[in-house]
Symmetry: C2
Subunit: 346 residues, 2 copies
């Protein structure tokens, strides 16, 4: 992946790109879509990823793009000198880095916490040095198992800070606190998106989320797993809508502002989602029920009034359409004899 | 302060102390009382402190004690090799390190967050390497501006993770999350105390807490400052009671357990406290009102049922008695021509 691109040039004949984006977590599900959208917009992208839970194969289509570069790095560790030296040219810093599914982020809770807190701080330092704008992807998990519906941004949440999900939930809350402190002190311009459930191509088939779980189980003809009785609700946003929301938020003129929920307010039960997947895949596999994980939220629906008002944003892709695209992508992934990720040398 | 004591001896004729305590924040208000109590119990104490908001003068009485040693260090930085080499002899690690009053911890919110998260992680690593038991002093601030009264440990709190107090409140919540993750993974035995308002000798006269503010203003004949209308409530625990609670919690056989509130459930308004201070000092100074700080909690009272049940602990010192001792101490402090702290070379 390390090749001569216009990102590598010092002063010289190459036209300097107007916008250089650092996208931490850019090999992840949402991150890879964001990288592509920024390139399509004509900007340059430096993708930073440790490939812990993200997939280099997500970047296959971007490899070799003249305005794209990949740097393998774990943001919980001090940033590479090569990156910090590029600060004068960096205009935007996006933090999408952190394992986001409970089974994965709970494998090493200390690392999850450090990624969110120390990693965010490293990127805030970079943004400050670069005089770049900074966007943190926070999460609906900062609301925990919410007691009000839908969740607006001023809801303070219902999070257990002692349970097995706390490394992520509290890590993100701490990352928000850090970001807003940088903003208040005028150290850098900050934007905080609270991302609700998102789905689409490039999801990790094995990360244990309900959409990918059900689709992959259906496509493989495996039993379909429902945790609890399936009456818990979720709201699913298609990834292209999410990326449009993130880009609108980064560019919006709302300094010193509050966090902004991004997600699809179309709430449904997990059983309803199951119905869609069964219809779409035509699987005859049976459904098995397993116990709800500890602190699993019972309901989750974003109030997106603020995003609507300040960004003019709302999701556009209907669930049926998004699920169909997602199913098609998973079918192609599963059909591929071997994962292609191995060929990617970051 | 660096002198030959039994803490410095390697193998040799010196009798190895049965218990070596590392007390981070040991020069602080509660920390200094804890150090003294541990020494009085016959144990050894290695006090770790950056002297950021704590006062070396708090340790004056311990200086030269053969089982006491001071090491100046900021726990947000990697621990000194000299300390980590002592791990095999360390039996208890206490984390009382962090600026705790809003004006002070808000001076450098990034450092406050890093002290709580990275600092706690450094000490957890030390405890793990030492196979020592670890105690985190968390705070009633994890409940934020609570919506239920009194606050029991299973209340998830009402904290703003975006406001100016978040660096402390969310830092402590993240520190709790880390500690319980170490505990769940069997990496070290953890204890988490949620400390409510505490007062007594060795408080910093300038740290902006209501008890020290009012007493010092009264003793100096200054105007007495009440934030808001004074109807907000607090519950004040005398420091000797708090230290007894912390020591009971550290030694209690409650592995894998939950956090434990420590504080005095005797709730009063700030105006009632003011009445006590006026009566005790006989000041004729007038009272001025100032606006309530952002996110200032309106009510705060611990439910100490769990401490009662699992530790057999309850506070014993009545407010009148505690306030009298505190006033006497502040009077002596203010009378001293110059602060004596300068003489202490940590």
């Amino acid at each position: 992946m390390r090749k001569q691109t216009d990102l590598d040039h010092g002063p010289g004949p190459t036209i300097r790109p107007l916008a250089l984006n650092v996208v931490a977590g850019g090999a992840g599900f949402i991150g890879s879509h964001l990288c592509r959208a920024l390139l399509e917009k004509g900007e340059s992208v430096l993708c930073l990823d440790n490939l812990q839970t993200s997939r280099a194969s997500n970047l296959r289509a971007l490899e070799g793009h003249p305005r794209f570069r990949f740097m393998r790095h774990d943001i919980s560790q001090p940033l590479p000198a090569e990156l910090t030296r590029m600060a004068p040219r960096i205009t935007r810093v996006w933090n999408l880095a952190c394992a986001a599914s409970p089974p994965l982020y709970q494998q090493n809770p200390e690392h999850t916490m450090m990624t969110n807190v120390v990693g965010t701080n490293h990127l805030l330092h970079l943004a400050e040095a670069a005089k770049a704008r900074f966007l943190l992807t926070s999460t609906s998990e900062v609301y925990g198992d919410p007691e009000i519906h839908p969740q607006a941004e001023d809801y303070r949440g219902h999070v257990s800070c002692t349970g097995p999900r706390a490394c992520y939930d509290e890590g993100k809350r701490a990352a928000e606190a850090l970001a807003f402190d940088y903003g208040r002190a005028g150290r850098t311009q900050v934007r905080v998106a609270r991302i609700f459930n998102t789905y689409g191509p490039n999801m990790d088939p094995n990360d244990g989320r309900v959409v990918s779980n059900l689709i992959c189980q259906a496509l493989r003809g495996d039993e379909l797993t429902i945790y609890g009785d399936g009456s818990q609700t979720r709201s699913f946003c298609y990834v292209s809508d999410m990326v449009a929301g993130l880009m609108a938020l980064m560019e919006a003129d709302i300094d010193g502002s509050d966090p902004v929920n991004l997600g699809n307010p179309d709430e449904m039960t997990v059983n309803e989602l199951l119905g869609h997947v069964l219809a779409l895949t035509g699987t005859a596999a049976r459904v098995v029920h397993r116990p709800l994980p500890v602190d699993d939220p019972r309901r989750r629906r974003p109030d997106i009034s603020r995003a609507n008002e300040v960004l003019g944003w709302a999701p556009k892709v209907p669930l049926a359409e998004g699920l169909e695209a997602t199913c098609a992508w998973f079918a192609a992934e599963l059909a591929a004899a071997k994962p292609a990720a191995a060929g990617f040398a970051g």
